[in-house]
């Protein structure tokens, strides 16, 4: 047995000498992200989906609302890559038009999270005291009202459509982020390294910049990446149950609903939009996970 194990000789000086090239935090993060194959694959898938959503409708011979009763429910072919629907509309174009809407919703949700959510949570935690208490009560009131009720009430004063959904998302979409950021900063504020910075005379703005922000980006990024799929899902769900997009406009949710009704006879109507929405949601989740790890130097090998 012994000869199987040969002691590796490690030079003492070699052990202590771990040379790191001097990189910025951003460069290091990118290097770490590149090592994560799944995250990189997700990133490229999302870029591809984004490009298709942007370009496919422009370069197609058909428009999303062009009906043709001679070719209803055609299966995928060279002329209609994803087939056609009950009015003979081209599903390739309709799917990518729907993807545009889902991605728009995704960006609105992420933007709200990163602006309103982060700022609200950070201000609440940093000022503290009475301001914090009032801000938290306000959030509690918002969360207390069920989401669906807000949407239905909105439908009564606004026309059904994408902007109604965006407004509905805006009302409560940032709340989770605000709470997370607040909790994280409250925890960090009393950590000994922040106390050490204060003892050393570091200014408040530098403490926020050097200690609080770098230690909250992980939470912020991952939460934003998880908000995106849930916002996309909310839109799809609302469209699926019939309060959302109006014909002939279509989101992925509307397309899935249409396909669901003819699933037995024409499964292709459902499959393509379903694959796209699943890809978007899964890729954002994997990418979020990868980004969190990439932003954490403790993951450095």
């Amino acid at each position: 047995m012994d000869e199987l194990f040969v002691r590796v000789h490690v030079d003492e000086s070699e052990k202590e000498h771990i040379a790191h090239p001097n990189l910025t935090a951003f460069q290091e993060g990118w290097l770490r992200l590149k090592k994560n194959k799944a995250a990189v694959a997700s990133l490229f898938t999302l870029i591809a989906i984004g490009l298709l959503a942007l370009l496919a409708p422009v370069f197609s011979a058909y428009s999303y609302k062009e009906t043709n009763y001679d070719i209803i429910y055609q299966v995928p072919s060279i002329t209609h890559l994803f087939g056609t629907d009950q009015f003979g509309r081209d599903l390739w174009v309709r799917t990518w038009m729907g993807t545009r809407i889902s991605l728009l919703i995704a960006f609105v949700a992420a933007f709200l999270d990163l602006t309103v959510g982060v700022v609200y949570g950070a201000v609440s935690a940093l000022i503290g005291g009475k301001v914090d208490a009032v801000m938290q009560r306000f959030i509690e009131i918002l969360v207390g009202i069920p989401h669906l009720i807000i949407v239905i009430l909105l439908m009564m004063i606004m026309p059904a459509g994408i902007w109604t959904i965006v407004v509905a998302l805006s009302i409560t979409g940032w709340v989770n982020m605000a709470r997370l950021v607040r909790a994280e900063i409250l925890k960090l504020k009393n950590q000994e390294f922040v106390l050490a910075a204060r003892v050393l005379g570091t200014s408040t703005s530098m403490i926020i910049w050097k200690h609080l922000i770098p230690n909250t980006v992980g939470v912020i990024v991952i939460n934003a990446m998880f908000t995106i799929p849930s916002a996309i899902f909310t839109e799809a769900f609302l469209s699926f149950i019939g309060i959302g997009m109006q014909e002939p406009k279509a989101s992925l949710g509307v397309l899935i609903n249409n396909g669901y009704q003819v699933l037995r006879n024409f499964p292709h109507v459902l499959i393509f939009p379903a694959i796209v929405i699943v890809l978007i949601m899964v890729c954002f989740s994997i990418l979020g996970d990868g980004l969190r790890d990439a932003l954490d130097p403790r993951m450095r090998k």
Binding site: A19, F193, L195, A197, V199, G201, K210, P214, R298
Partner: protein, 323 residues
């Protein structure tokens, strides 16, 4: 050793720090502590976990606003009268080394930037000079240049504590509050860190307030030792006297809990067992705080709070029966 004429570097007078907890309740973490610290000495501060040692240290260094009392440094009151700029300048005189080697270093900063934080805050060194100074400090605390570009998680507890020491030294302080710098370390590493602190004290003429929860830890480094119980100082005297002739029953109990490294003496030694448990620090009645656990407690103790008095020159104790 300490003559009364000598001017203290730091005077703490009737310091109190109360925390509001819940509805209309206060937690008296520090209740009326006074002490003087002289240049070049080490004052050990011991007491059980939760007795307010860290709170005392953090209030002295202005991390917490005192509820009452004054802190005087080099003859100047520092807790009220300093302007913002003076307060900023003052951070170069007094520094702190923290308890938890894991929580006290920002996991997202490289050691280079952690150590240079004080220099950056005061804008004293920049560029190449800053780097040179950091390497110098790393060597001072027994680390080397290669460590500068690493992140804290690549270090052991002892090494991290050295980084924390280097960070404090970077602004050339005169006075350092060491808040249990060795409690979280392995016994074998503790001695190394203590020796490093002692060596630095000699070279740089530092004054220490050294906090620990165990008397045996402060014995070798302290000139004087103060014993805290539930936010109050119960006994304060020079180290030898405290170990040879403790007058407060709480100090006596603490000392009897330290094993003696001689099997014969150890076998025959009488341990004073403390009865009862630590009372809830939020609701405490009048009288001696230790009365519930004190073997000598009597009616007087439960009625009147004992004042700190000088039982012998330089030997203070807060007990009605101390003589």
């Amino acid at each position: 050793m300490m003559s009364a004429e000598k001017k203290p570097l730091l005077e703490v007078k009737h310091l109190k720090k109360y925390f509001p907890v819940g509805k209309n309740q206060t937690l008296k973490a520090v209740r009326d502590i006074s002490l003087n610290l002289y240049k070049g000495e080490t004052l050990g501060l011991v007491g059980e976990s939760g007795c307010g040692k860290s709170t005392f240290g953090r209030t002295v260094i202005q991390l917490y606003e005192p509820t009452e009392g004054t802190i005087i440094y080099e003859g100047r009151e520092i807790n009220n009268s300093l302007s913002k700029a003076e307060r900023h300048e003052f951070t170069r005189k007094m520094q702190m080394i923290f308890q938890d080697p894991y929580a006290s270093l920002n996991p997202r900063m490289k050691v280079m930037d952690i150590i240079a934080e004080g220099m950056d805050a005061h804008g004293v060194y920049k560029g190449q000079e800053r780097k040179k100074k950091v390497i110098e400090l790393l060597e001072t605390v027994g680390l080397s240049e290669e460590h500068a570009n690493r992140f804290p998680h690549e270090f052991s507890g002892g090494q991290r504590q050295r980084v924390g020491i280097a960070r404090a030294l970077a602004v050339d302080p005169e006075f350092i509050i060491c808040d249990e710098p060795i409690s979280a370390l392995d016994v074998s590493i503790q001695a190394q860190v203590i020796n490093l602190l002692k060596e630095l004290q000699k070279k740089r003429d530092l004054t220490y307030l050294f906090i620990a929860h165990d008397l045996s830890m402060v014995k070798h480094i302290s000139d004087r030792i103060g014993v805290m119980y539930l936010g109050s100082m119960v006994e304060l005297t020079d180290s030898e006297t405290l170990f040879d002739d403790p007058v407060h029953p709480y100090t006596q109990a603490l000392l009897s809990a330290i094993p003696i490294p001689d099997p014969d003496v150890e076998k025959s030694r009488n341990r004073i067992m403390l009865e009862g448990s630590l009372p809830d620090p939020i609701r405490l009645s009048e009288g001696c705080l230790f009365a519930g656990r004190c073997p000598y407690a009597e009616d007087l103790c439960r009625k009147n709070t004992p004042e700190m008095k000088e039982v012998r020159p330089g030997h203070f104790a807060a007990c009605h029966k101390a003589k």
